[in-house]
Amino acid sequence: MKAPVSWIRELVDLPAEVTTEALAARLTDLGLKLEAIERPGDQITGPLVVGRVLTMEPEPQKNGKTINWCTVDVGAANGTGEPQGIVCGAHNFAPGDLVVVVLPGGVLPGGFEISARKTYGHVSAGMICSARELGLGDDHDGIIVLPADAGDPGADAFAVLGLDDEVIEFEINPDRAYALSLRGVARDAALAFDAPYTDPTDRELPEPDDAGHPVVVDDPAGCPVFAARTVAGLDPSAPSPDWMVRRLTQAGMRPISLAVDVTNYVMLETGRPIHGYDADKVRGALRVRRATAGERLTTLDGTDRELSPEDLVVTDDSGIIGLGGVMGGATTEMSGTTTRVLVEAAHWDPVSMFRTGKRHKLSSEAGKRNERGVDPTICGAAADRVVELLVAHGGGVAEPGFTLVGSPPEPDPIVLGGQLPARVTGIDVPVDAAVRHLEAVGCTVERDGDTLTATPPPWRPDLTDPFDLVEEVARVVGYDQVPSVVPTPTGGRGLTRSQRLRRRVGRTLAGAGCVEVISFPFTGPAALDALGLPADDPRRRTVPLANPISTEEPSYTTTLLPGLLKAAARNLGRGAAGVSLFETGTVAFPSDAGPAPIYGVEWRPTEAELEKLYDALPAQPLHLAVVLAGERERAGWWGPGREAGWADAVGLVRRLAAELGVALTVRAASLAPWHPGRCAELVVGDGDDQVVVGHAGELHPRVCQAVGVPARSAAVELDLDALLRYAEDVVPGPELSSFPVAKEDVALLVDASVTAAEVEAALREGAGDLLESIRLFDVYTGEQVGEGRKSLAFALRFRAPDRTLTEQETGAARDAAVAAAVARTGAVQR
């Protein structure tokens, strides 16, 4: 909402010393937020004066243009009192007209400096200005011709043009629809400075009668009040007065024609949207009703629309002629030949306005006001003001008759405890002060002891609850009066276990050289194809979005890998030799239990209802993914660098599991997007409770190629929620033996297909309780062991809690371990 300060001051008698900044600041304190202060004259430096054209000589030029060589009386403004010679290219004026002259030394918007200069064979000492040259609008058809009474030659033109008027632009919150009018802004300005206020809708109105244009309202709930007046005998060519054009322009509206400008002006002034019909095109009585399914209307923006049975329409004998409160129809639109105007000022149901606007994607200044709520009591006054302005400036006459159908809805009184404002705000507001402040914002208040019954004023349909009134009291007292008191909760439980573990996950991975990435969780078929996911892969069953940002990525993602791979490729493309990236984020898998119900808000839904709601939501596990691409260790003085590979990926998971106290089992697996022979599944839990939480390994060569990362890049993706469920909670303290350790190495020959983990598990089980640790220290394949075979060398450490082990004991344990490996994996001891 843009409010010219002169217009505000017309309605509220502010002390002269109140600056625009102070006014804007106080209104911001009251909830009308300052966006910007515009000063149209800011970019102009004088002398800018009123001039009277004395002579003008048209002089045709070789280039086909005709210029006017003028002499202009600028009074004493030029220091000599002699007429000023000026060349002017415009032709829309005549000797005797008052014009706006910028004299040499002046500067116009855009840093355009004016000096006396030779042009078209004359010395042109200044310029006669157009509106556009002064930054006053787009009008460049000619220069500004001032009204005859604008001022004497030589007078300062800043004030004459309103260039000294400042405009405050406010951001108006949806609850303060009253401030979408000068009436409302000025009311709060009066409140802020305790200054006398004139309500522009406070007018003497004629008695409603049956003499005016007939109106029938079939749907009083949708249109509780409908006022109509008619003005005839308008001069269609009558221009809008300069002050009106200026104010409309300042308020950000484009001047169009007198009739349209007047309706807009009155809307800005009162907040009440007005519709004007070309009365000669209206056939019979106006009627308000809901549309029936299938009806259509061409609105005055030229769009043919199919109407909904919820839309409120205005009809005449010809059919539908307007979408009530939202937009008029083309058939009765005012035009350049309109001489009779039927003025409609009606109050419409805000919810209906909102729905119709949304349905037809129509947003307008009128719609914005109608859907947020306008004072329903001012329909007659607004129509009367329109009539007054049309008669005054269009040469028309008001036809007899004032149609007023319906009556404004009464605001419901609100009962509140007088202490409530103090109790909610923490400001010391005595009850009588609360009453005073509520009255100051227009409420009628009855006090019974400490109980108040406040009836909001008709321009405040947003005030419905006691807490709404608390806010009114608080803003009048001032939000800066709210004290600052730190509350003292009764003791929290700190971070949850999961929250602490997640911090640890991030720190562990960062400590291992990985950089965290946050990417957008959207995906699409192309990204999933690049991963080589088969058609029936569960990761292809995504949660689709109705309005995705990009048609390429129409769904919420089921895997973090596409985002991470994209980031990896971007880093490599920007010159990184290698990247190690990780991300933790939710992915989503659709629920079959939808749709999610929508309950009322009058009471809490039952547990069963909430269950139904939660079940309808997609499953949203927190995933962790890592991508290792290119150089993992740098080359340097220490030797060559090393490319990332499957072992780095699996190693990170093992390190993470160790940090979290999760017993992790790594098994060979085969899953896209990993290399089928270099993919590990990550298993937690034991026995029947084993769960595969994710996969790690080298990416499939085709995937590397498709996403643009080096071959042999590696990746991890796992369900972090699942992993964290298996994290050790309370770790039991170990009992350490101080007896000596006995070391035994064994080398076992196995088939190449036997995994190290299988052999290790067999050894571990066979070795029994005396085994302290086991570690694979060598893998050998080659001629000595034969084709399809490999040799695995393990270092075993034995220790007893209570004694030094004898050689026999250690040997027996080692033999038992080997025997188990032989039995379970077909191993042969070397």
């Binding site: 807490f467 608390v470 939808g594």
Partner: protein, 365 residues
């Protein structure tokens, strides 16, 4: 070796003559002093303090002396051997020190060589920033609440007093899951976590909810369809706007430094009444000579977020006794907060995944 001199036989044994002993001692001391390195000293030790050394041999002869001579001879030889042993130890220490010094000198390396074999990792500033915020509140006795990002429409809107016809409902440009009738949206704010908390817990409630949120905004230097918010909710008996102000002042000071507080301006949010915009005192210019400050653009204050007293309608919908309890709520963008805290020009830097950006923040706590 001579046998024990059991019979008295006052024969003088040459090596036991004082001058001989002194000579042997002096020879030993001279050899020790002359030993140039540990190897040479080792030989000197064998020659002059070993089993076959003159003093050792002399020592052995003491037993053969008549008892009245033994004491004096023993003392003399003992002193001589002591002097040699001491000199050996001292020389040993000197030579060892010299050796060590030389060896260490030889082993000198260029410690300024790079050691970054594995490049450094880093967590994302949004993660560390969220944790910092959580820690500030946990220190006040609050807890950190979380909820799903794909949320029921009822929890994202209706339960928060944003009914289907509320104009504010279209102000938040929402991502809907398909079909739109599914009643499921990408949450437009972290407020549904507040609703969930109220639905599952009984007051007093003091929770902060940091998390990822979604709006169908254009992606540019200051807007992103995916961003992060932190909201706070306190429900207790006797909670007022003053507690809200106190909490936000404390938060601002903890995050931006001593003297950085907040101010309120009236505003509108459906889930709070009264509602306020909260501005943060500019932590760069501190409101002094603000006109040239590029952080607050001359305002002296930075728009930080929204807040207010929880609308009793929201309490009721979430099963909290609105007669007994009042509450406050606040919310602000984490991304935006970090942008001005770290002077980040373009929001998109947070989501590009460029390691050069993120590793800069590796030292953030």
């Amino acid at each position: 070796m001579s046998g024990p001199n059991t019979d008295y036989d006052p024969v003088e044994v040459t090596p036991l003559k004082p001058e001989e002993v002194e000579a042997a001692r002096d020879a030993a001391l001279a050899a020790i002093a002359g030993a140039a390195d540990l190897e040479a000293l080792k030989q000197v030790r064998i020659d002059h303090a070993g089993d076959r050394s003159a003093l050792a041999l002399a020592n052995r002869e003491i037993g053969a002396l008549p008892p009245q001579a033994r004491k004096e001879a023993g003392q003399r030889i003992g002193q001589a051997r002591g002097a040699v042993t001491q000199a050996l130890a001292a020389r040993q220490a000197v030579l060892e020190a010299e050796h060590e010094e030389r060896m260490l000198a030889e082993e000198t390396v260029d410690v300024t060589l790079p050691t970054d074999r594995v490049p450094a990792g880093a967590r994302h500033p949004l993660t560390t920033g969220s944790e910092l915020i959580a820690d500030i509140f946990v220190a006040m006795g609050w807890e950190v609440a979380e909820g799903p990002v794909i949320e029921a429409e009822w929890l994202n809107f209706d339960a928060l007093n944003l009914g289907p016809d509320h104009p504010a409902r279209t102000m938040q440009d929402t991502f809907w899951t398909d079909p739109p009738e599914s009643g499921v949206v990408l949450r437009t704010h972290t407020s549904p976590v507040q609703a969930r908390t109220m639905l599952t817990r009984t007051p007093p409630i003091y929770v902060v909810c940091p998390g990822r949120v979604f709006r169908t905004d254009e992606y540019d230097a200051t807007h992103s369809p995916v961003f992060h918010q932190v909201e706070g909710l306190a429900i207790d008996e006797g909670i007022t706007m003053a507690h809200l102000k106190g909490t936000l002042d404390h938060f601002a000071t903890a995050m931006f430094g001593e003297g950085i507080t907040t101010r309120f301006r009236p505003s509108y949010f459906p889930f709070t009444e009264p509602s306020a915009e909260v501005d943060l005192r500019c932590f760069v210019c501190r409101g002094v000579d603000s006109q040239d400050c590029r952080t607050c653009r001359g305002e002296g204050w930075i728009e930080w977020g929204g807040c207010g007293v929880v609308n009793p309608r929201v309490l009721t919908a979430c099963g909290v006794d609105a007669e007994r309890y009042t509450g406050f709520a606040f919310g602000m963008g984490i991304d935006r907060t970090l942008m001005f805290r770290h002077d980040i020009e373009d929001l998109r830097a947070l989501f590009e995944g460029d390691v050069r950006f993120t590793t800069t923040f590796g030292s953030e706590l």
